[in-house]
Amino acid sequence: MKYSSTIANQIFEVTIDNTERKLRVLLDNKEVPVEFIRRPASNSYVVVMENRTFEFEIVRDEEAYVVHYQGRDYPCRVEDQRLIKLKNAIRQEVTQSEHLEIRSPMPGLVVAAEVAVGEKVRSGQGLIIIEAMKMENEIKSPADGVVREIKVKTSEAVEMNQTLIILE
């Protein structure tokens, strides 16, 4: 099985071959001896590669695996190459109607929307302020776009992942 895996803006081609009841791993078409084991009752994996040891905590996020290593999180997108081809075909059709849902990263209270419907926004611009733990947090736009819809009202309580604003 061929995979393409994206971490920290780098793409790795990984092939996993389990024929002949033997597991072989190829990284960028070169076989790599790698040892690994999952620690019991945990999400912790110990990996030995080129005589270096790594301990990773890996959890499955909505669309990626998140690897926790030495205090940092590394989101890692793994794509089966057959799927990539399929997706590319579909993507071409949907790009026209693409829109972006801005979701709340936490439960909290809407303090104020900083933009209005129809307003042009730039990447990094503040969209809405959510209060949680007595602190006001500004939700910023991840991309340039236009505000199509504001789905929440001032002083409304929101859940985590609730859609706040739709950009297009």
Binding site: Y3, I16, V34, Y45, R52, F56, G71, R72
Partner: protein, 507 residues
């Protein structure tokens, strides 16, 4: 047998500080009483205490701030004293008074002292009378330009014009020269009028790159007041401390003695008994100015404990019971250097936004010179209701360099997953050149850090290992569902055996 100061203490708090007080109680043989809300029912402080009593649901006003309910629990449990920790009711003179009225002991200063020092203007007046230096200028209200110029000339430029009703930087103007004064005053007044409906303004000396340095004091009822040296708390985000250390990299023995004596004078002027902290702003010429007194145990008290060897919570309890301090000023000797990193559940790459969730894995660092004061562990929940502080990581070394290298090492060992923490930020600070030179101020993050610093460098081999491991997981997950080619159990068991066999064949 020595007599116990108290038989039982109620801790009117939660999280790491409740755990800290419980530990002191246990060492002293005093029973501890915890209080908790629904969400905290399995929290560490509840599990560690000898007794625990439920409060009403989460919002703080109905739970950890509900004085009447807490006092009733204290009475029911038979506690003789109440330790407020920090935050919540710790600096509420009314609560301290109510504890006393119930015939219980409040572990902290008297209600009068708390109220006096809680009122900014009253505290300032009290300090000026005691000869404590304050930021020059604040008490002069500006009514006309001539008076303003005269005042500013006396204080020395640059000066800051501030709205009396101020806040949020509105009505604030920085003035470098006398000829800028008239225009700046007009602008500040009109801004203040439109923002607050009040155009009263003040002039204050502008301190360009202040350090925040504070002095720990403790006093007993017998009249002994002792200082335990300084803590430098200049590294702040959102005007809140994130890293503290003792000693300060810029305070020498002479300045320590001078600031210590000032802090003792400040405490005496307020009839202070128990542990407290006198906060100062320090300018680039090492002039220091009184900021405020925190009438409680500070979050960052462990760094002082690490370099002096004294247990501040145990001393607090003894002093509150009427016992004298176990040490005098001459006994205090400072040894080595200690740094504290506050481990908040916040995303340092996203403006320190709080990160809410359940702690999925939790491994604390260990080894030489490391102390972790934690209120959380595996499965713990960081909610919207309370402060997102998970723990405080403290490193001690013989000198600052050793403390920094231990902190860097411990931050790498600390594993907290399931939510974002400020650990990557702390790692970047420990590697920061300005921090390592001790060249810090309260503007450190803006002046000395770049956004990329927090992301840090990644070991290229680690990235390769991650990419392989995640693909193997995906292979296993999908394979278990469909493909016949896959042997999920083999993946799960790992490849130790396979690799071993391969090696022996290759030989």
């Amino acid at each position: 047998m020595t007599q116990l100061p108290f038989k039982k203490i109620l801790i009117a708090n939660r999280g790491e500080i409740a755990v800290r007080v419980i530990r002191a109680c246990r060492e002293m043989g005093i029973a501890s009483v915890a209080i908790y809300t629904e969400i905290d029912r399995t929290a560490l402080h509840v599990r560690m205490a000898d007794e625990a009593y439920a409060l009403d649901p989460e919002p703080s006003a109905d739970s950890y701030l509900a004085m009447g309910k807490i006092l009733n629990i204290a009475a029911r449990s038979g506690a003789e004293a109440v330790h407020p920790g920090y935050g919540f009711l710790a600096e509420n003179g009314d609560f301290a008074a109510q504890v006393n009225e119930r015939g219980l002991v409040f572990i902290g200063p008297s209600p009068d002292t708390i109220s006096l020092l809680g009122d900014k203007m009253a505290a300032r007046t009290c300090m000026i009378k005691a000869g404590v230096p304050v930021v020059p200028g604040l008490e002069q209200r500006v009514t006309d330009i001539d008076a303003a110029l005269k005042n500013a000339g006396k204080i020395g430029y640059p000066v800051l014009i501030k709205a009396a009703a101020g806040g949020g930087g509105k009505g604030m103007r920085l003035v470098h020269r006398a000829d800028e004064m008239e225009k700046s005053i007009q602008m500040a007044m009109s801004e203040a009028r439109s923002a607050f409906g009040d155009d009263r303004i003040y002039i204050e000396k502008y301190i360009a790159r202040p350090r925040h340095i504070e002095i720990q004091v403790i006093a007993d009822a017998q009249g002994n007041t002792v200082h335990l040296g300084e803590r430098e708390c200049s590294i702040q985000r959102r005007h809140q401390k994130v890293i503290e250390e003792s000693p300060s990299p810029v305070v020498d023995d002479d300045l320590r003695k001078k600031m210590g004596e000032t802090a003792v004078a400040a405490a005496k002027a307020a009839n202070y008994v128990n542990a407290g902290t006198v906060e100062f702003l320090v300018d680039e010429e090492m002039n220091y100015y009184f900021l405020e007194v925190n009438t409680r145990l500070q979050v960052e008290h462990p760094v002082t404990e690490m370099v002096t060897g004294y247990d501040l919570v145990k001393e607090q309890i003894n002093v509150a019971s009427g016992l004298p301090l176990s040490f005098s000023q001459e006994d205090i000797a400072w040894n080595g250097h200690a740094i504290e990193c506050r481990i908040y559940a916040e995303d340092p790459e996203n403006n320190f936004m709080p990160s809410i969730g359940t702690i999925g894995s939790y491994v604390e660092p260990q080894g030489p010179g490391i102390r972790v004061d934690s209120g959380q562990d595996l499965g713990g929940e960081v909610s919207i209701f309370y402060d997102p502080l998970i723990s405080k990581l403290v490193a001690w070394g013989r000198d600052r360099n050793e403390a920094v290298s231990r902190m860097r090492r411990a931050l790498n060992e600390y594993r907290i997953s399931g939510l974002k923490t400020v650990i990557p930020f702390h790692k970047a600070v420990m590697d920061n050149a300005d921090f390592n030179r001790g060249a810090i101020s309260t503007h450190f993050i803006a002046d000395s850090m770049a956004a990329e610093d927090i992301a840090g460098d990644v070991d290229p081999l680690a990235l390769k290992a991650m990419s392989i491991m995640t693909c193997l997981m995906d292979y296993k997950n999908k394979g278990a569902a469909s493909s016949s080619e896959t042997r999920a159990t083999e993946i799960e068991r790992g490849m130790w055996k396979y690799c071993g066999r391969r090696k022996s064949i290759g030989r």
